[in-house]
């Protein structure tokens, strides 16, 4: 048994991996379905009132998927990551690990496995959304989908890193998850300033709609800052958790 296997078992046996997959995959199914049948759904529930809805399009289907998947998905990713990274929440469990391994050895598999699980779940959800959209409406732009997915994968890795940093400030699992989500909301609010937005991780969330619609790639700054902030968060958590008393 290694610390890597421990993290994989944690995700599988606590059903957290299946929860992540279910969140992203279910929205991957619902996004194209909703977009395809939205006119019929609106007509059926409209009660005679005429409501105009845009015609089904691949962009609308993928945007519908992403909007829902990211809202719930980020929350799920933060809580799943916090459950692994806030390992000091129970000091007796922390003693078991801290007296046997260095903080780098403990945290590295926790970051890596949770990042991989979050990204894999998102990629599978996106693939389901892509195939569903192609079958029901029309194929979205493959290049744009791939590039946007990579940017959002980096963003999800950032969410995990931010949760790890939060776990080095608070010893509770919900506390770490909510602090991380709170920080993401703050980034979103700061992003309302146009000059700052292009440097913020939250800017990557908007890349999906733009790139699938054929827009130009203008995310180098936010990609770079997200990578730097992620690495900085991880490094800071190593230092802070390494200094923490149990």
């Amino acid at each position: 048994m290694s610390l890597w296997r421990l993290e994989i078992l944690r995700l599988v046996r606590t059903y957290r991996l299946w929860i992540l997959l279910a969140v992203f995959t279910s929205f991957g199914v619902l996004g194209p379905l909703t977009a395809r049948f939205l006119p019929e759904i609106v007509a059926a529930v409209g009660g005679g009132v005429e409501i105009s809805v845009p015609p089904p399009s691949p962009e609308l289907a993928m945007a519908g998927y992403l909007g829902n998947a990211l809202q719930i998905g980020i929350l799920a990713v933060a809580f799943v990551a916090a459950a692994a990274l806030a390992f000091d929440a129970q000091s007796e469990m922390a003693v078991y690990l801290r007296t046997r391994a260095t903080i780098h050895r403990i945290l590295t598999p926790r970051y890596a496995v949770n990042m991989i699980a979050a990204i894999a779940s998102f990629v599978i959800g996106t693939a389901v959304a892509y195939v569903g959209t192609a079958l029901l409406i029309d194929a979205p732009r493959l290049g744009g989908t791939l590039v946007a997915s990579m940017l959002l994968a980096v963003y999800l890795a950032f969410v995990v890193a931010l949760t790890g940093l939060a776990a080095s400030f608070v010893r509770s699992v919900p506390g770490a998850a909510l602090m991380s989500v709170g920080a993401l909301i703050v980034f979103g609010i700061i992003g309302l300033i146009p000059q700052v937005d292009q440097w913020l991780p939250s800017n990557l969330v908007g890349s999906f709609d733009t790139l699938i619609a054929g827009g130009e790639f203008a995310y180098w700054r936010s990609l770079l800052s997200t990578i730097i902030l992620s690495m900085g968060s991880i490094a800071a958590s190593f230092v802070l958790m390494g200094r923490r008393e149990t």
């Binding site: 290694s2 944690r10 129970q90 003693v95 078991y96 801290r98 391994a101």
Partner: protein
């Protein structure tokens, strides 16, 4: 390799305004079983945490001359979805990677957990968790083993197994053993440290502690009634420093055991009482502990 595994000098630990450890100095000989006793809140867990590197002392310095240090908290907890065998397996692989995996079953057998090795620990009782914690601690052949109340949650049979394991470790590992159960400390420990209010009130062997305590030597006199007369007779003896009792039992103390042994029987012979027995009052660790921590 030094003679002492632990050398702590003037360790102080503050939590805000609370002084948990107040200038604690401690020396633990290699291969010994060292008992750490003290009332609740004396600082035992904090001191073990400092020695384990889990807590940073506010002042003072310490060295732990051991590469493998294992700690057993008083209430061990593990991820509830892990199996008992996995807990011990992980422990072995973290401490001694590449070791013979037969050590896992061997230690599970010694702690009485082999039959539940493939059960998830979420359903374990506190006693079973304590056994599992001990198994995970000893599987890596620690040079220094810090046990915080290892037998507190165990039934008499489990307690006996833990004490036997600690006895078996003597010589191979150095054990620091904190406990409220003074009988356990008396049975397995070579030396003890009594912590009281964050300070070491005594450090040394049990024999020295009991022999060197401030309480005066005392004898118990059992008589067939008339204890009051014995008390009255002893009160007027100038060698008696304290006398109490009545009825069938009288306790008498003096400046030295030799004085009592010489004078007591002589004094009893002068009064007309039926003496059943005269015996020294044995001092237990508990007596001394209560005296030191008063």
């Amino acid at each position: 390799m030094g003679i002492n595994v632990v050398e702590a000098t003037e360790i102080t630990k503050r939590y805000g305004e609370t002084l948990a450890l107040d200038g604690v100095s401690l020396f633990v000989r290699r291969g010994s079983v060292f008992g750490l006793v003290g009332p609740n809140g004396a600082g035992k867990t904090t001191l073990l945490g400092v020695l384990a590197g889990l807590r940073i002392p506010t002042e003072g310095s310490f060295t732990v001359d051991a590469s493998r240090v294992a700690v057993l908290p008083d209430t061990p907890k593990f991820d509830p979805w892990m199996m008992a065998r996995e807990v011990v397996d992980l422990s072995l692989n973290l401490v001694l990677p590449g070791s013979d995996p037969s050590a896992i079953d061997s230690v599970l057998d010694r702690t009485g957990l082999l039959s539940v090795a493939h059960r998830r620990v979420g359903g374990f009782s506190r006693g079973m968790l304590q056994r599992l914690g001990l198994a995970a601690a000893v599987v890596g052949n620690p040079e220094l083993l810090l046990l915080d109340e290892p037998a507190a949650a165990l039934d008499p049979a489990g307690r006996r197994e833990v004490l036997n394991m600690v006895n078996d470790l003597r010589g191979d590992s150095t054990v620091v053993f904190s406990s409220h159960i003074l009988d356990d400390v008396e049975e397995v420990c070579d030396e003890i440290g009594i912590l009281n209010g964050g300070r070491i009130a005594y450090e040394g062997t049990l024999e020295e502690l009991v022999r060197g305590s401030s309480r005066l030597p005392s004898y118990r006199v059992r008589v067939r009634g008339n204890g009051g007369r014995v008390v009255d007779a002893l009160k007027v003896c100038d060698w008696v420093t304290d006398v109490s009792g009545g009825g069938d039992t009288v306790i008498v103390s003096a400046g030295s055991a030799a004085v009592i042994e010489r004078e007591l029987v002589r004094c009893l012979a002068r009064i007309d009482v039926a003496v059943v027995s005269v015996a020294p009052l044995e001092r237990s660790l508990e007596d001394v502990f209560l005296e030191v921590t008063r």
